[in-house]
């Protein structure tokens, strides 16, 4: 199905306006219920927009955004690096993989949110407890993808590389690593998203700065406008990062056949 760009954009904007208009009507008129109650539970689009504008103008939001971004970036960086190293190690050493298999599965089965209080206890309320939480999310995604990537190198490509005279180190550099990284990059969206989840959830459960902290503070005083404003900023921010990831991915995976446009 192909839709013209302009038409698609117009339809998308229409849906957005429709949703905000519905929200506005529900909050400002007595169509669904008492506007006062409605406003308490849902705030209003104008209030939320005003709050976001105020945050942006006063500049307070940038500090919190920066903290969250730093936590997510650290979680992503450390998590990816360890995932690549351990994934490689396991894939090249079947015995190690077999021995650790049940423990890896068990660790991955644990919902990460329950780790947040432990990390807060161990690492304090600063950024490192959030980095740790994000790490536990990112690590497993990258680890499983790299493991798969190394395992699934085409045996023909491998045999050909050997016949071309590659030694083990050259195979690693020219065959295993590119293959593993291509798998890792294809999961880039997921792992970057999870790094953000780790940071925000960690902040929400106990911190002194960050978007999660902002939302949690607002919620503590029944400031629904603040909660919604925080959510919208977070959403816009994640979409922006996702877009950047897409650009990076296009650059790094240019050798891959491009999937049909969606």
């Amino acid at each position: 199905m192909t839709v013209k760009r302009e038409k698609l954009l117009a339809l998308r904007i229409l849906v957005g306006i429709g949703m905000i208009a519905t929200w506005h009507v529900v909050a400002e008129t007595s169509l669904v219920g008492d506007p006062l109650t409605m406003r308490f539970f849902f705030s209003t689009p104008l209030d939320v927009a005003g709050r976001i504008a105020q945050w942006l103008l006063h500049g307070t939001i940038w500090y919190h955004l920066g903290v969250t971004l730093l936590e997510a970036a650290l979680a992503f960086g450390i998590g990816s690096l360890s995932g690549v190293v351990v994934g490689f190690w396991f894939a090249r050493k079947p015995l190690v993989a077999a021995v650790f298999d049940p423990y890896v599965k068990a660790a991955n089965a644990l919902p990460r949110v329950v780790l947040a209080p432990i990390f807060a206890l161990w690492l304090g309320l600063g950024i490192w407890s959030k980095v740790a939480l994000g790490f536990t999310l990112v690590f497993f995604i990258v680890f499983f993808n790299v493991y798969q990537g190394v395992k699934e190198v085409s045996p023909v490509v491998l045999a050909n590389a050997r016949m071309l005279g590659m030694n083990e180190r050259q195979l690693l550099r020219h065959v295993y690593l590119p293959s593993a990284l291509s798998w890792m990059f294809s999961s880039l969206h997921t792992s970057v998203g999870f790094a953000m989840v780790g940071a925000v959830v960690g902040e929400y459960l106990g911190s002194a700065a960050g978007l999660g902290y902002l939302i949690q503070q607002a919620e503590g005083v029944f400031d629904v406008t603040g909660v919604f404003a925080g959510m919208f900023v977070l959403m816009a921010f994640v979409i922006l990062i996702d877009w950047l990831v897409t650009l990076v991915e296009r650059h790094l995976l240019s050798w891959r056949p491009r999937p049909a446009a969606t």
């Binding site: 085409s154 023909v156 050909n160 016949m163 005279g165 065959v175």
Partner: protein
């Protein structure tokens, strides 16, 4: 006296001056099965390929001819027998051989030029020199303008050309080919065959060329070796092809000598093909 001179001239110098490039001696290849037994793919087989000789190995599908090639490449270790390469016993990968695979074997994350250059790079040639030479080779296989494309942007025939350049840039003394033109359409195969003979005639390496296509084998080779249907495949025929070179492989099929050779060899091969069918139907 005159007779003796003629005789020695006819047979001796050729046999002596041509060293043996690949010597398979009683090579048997078996694989372990999941149920604990072993599957004998190739029964003890001996085959010599002289230097600058083009040998085609023909057999029904699944007869183990590729396995025999892999033994010469050092990718498969024979269960019995010995492999000698240029007089030396083979251990590990065969360093003197280039191998053109049937399936896609290019690294998809490298461009055509990088794929060709890598064979030199791993041997210690600086990347820039290697790339330059790779572009020369791409021109030789008719892909001068495609060096910056990744394999997925090339057609099957173009990928085979890159593969050929990748093998030849290293100047291997032995070239092993496993049904390299199998997946291509008939016209492309013809053109690839011509290209291959063209490049080969420049310096005449020893070639082991595996194919299931008897016509292709006779067109290209000096010698055609027929293998029986597996399991426990063995060599059941060895024919010299006395067709003059250079050959025009598009025209040669019409040559009465070609037809005669084809008829003779096909007689042997046909029975094996039928046997192969019966076996696969029975199992």
């Amino acid at each position: 006296m005159a007779l003796a001179a003629a005789f020695s001239e006819r047979s001796e110098p050729k046999l002596v001056s041509r060293a043996v490039a690949v010597a398979l001696d009683g090579v048997k290849i078996a694989f372990g099965m999941p149920d604990g037994g072993t599957y004998e793919a190739v029964a003890p087989t001996s085959l010599n390929v002289a230097e600058s000789e083009f040998v085609a190995i023909v057999g029904p599908t699944g007869c183990g001819k590729s396995t025999l090639l892999n033994a010469a490449a050092g990718l498969v270790k024979p269960a019995a027998g010995t492999v000698h390469i240029l007089g030396q016993p083979l251990s590990g990968i065969n360093r003197h051989a280039g191998y053109l695979f049937q399936q896609d074997s290019l690294m998809p994350w490298k461009t055509a030029a990088q794929n060709v250059a890598i064979g030199l790079e791993v041997g210690g040639v600086p990347a820039r020199d290697a790339l330059e030479e790779a572009r020369d080779w791409l021109r030789k296989v008719g892909l001068g303008a495609f060096g910056d494309r990744h394999p997925h942007m090339l057609s099957g025939g173009q990928r085979k050309r890159v593969g050929l350049a990748q093998v030849l840039i290293r100047h291997p003394r032995i070239i092993l080919m496993d049904e390299p033109f199998g997946p291509l359409d008939a016209q492309t195969r013809l053109i690839m065959g011509e290209l291959l003979l063209d490049l080969w005639s420049a310096d005449r390496k020893a070639v082991m060329f595996v194919t299931h296509d008897l016509e292709e084998a006779i067109e290209l080779a000096d010698r055609v070796v027929i293998m029986s249907a597996g399991p426990a495949a063995r060599i059941i025929g060895d024919y010299a092809i006395p067709l003059a070179r250079p050959r025009d492989i598009a025209e040669i099929k019409l040559d009465p000598r070609f037809v005669e050779i084809h008829r003779q060899i096909w007689h042997t091969l046909k029975e094996e093909v039928l046997k192969g069918y019966r076996q696969s139907e029975g199992s």
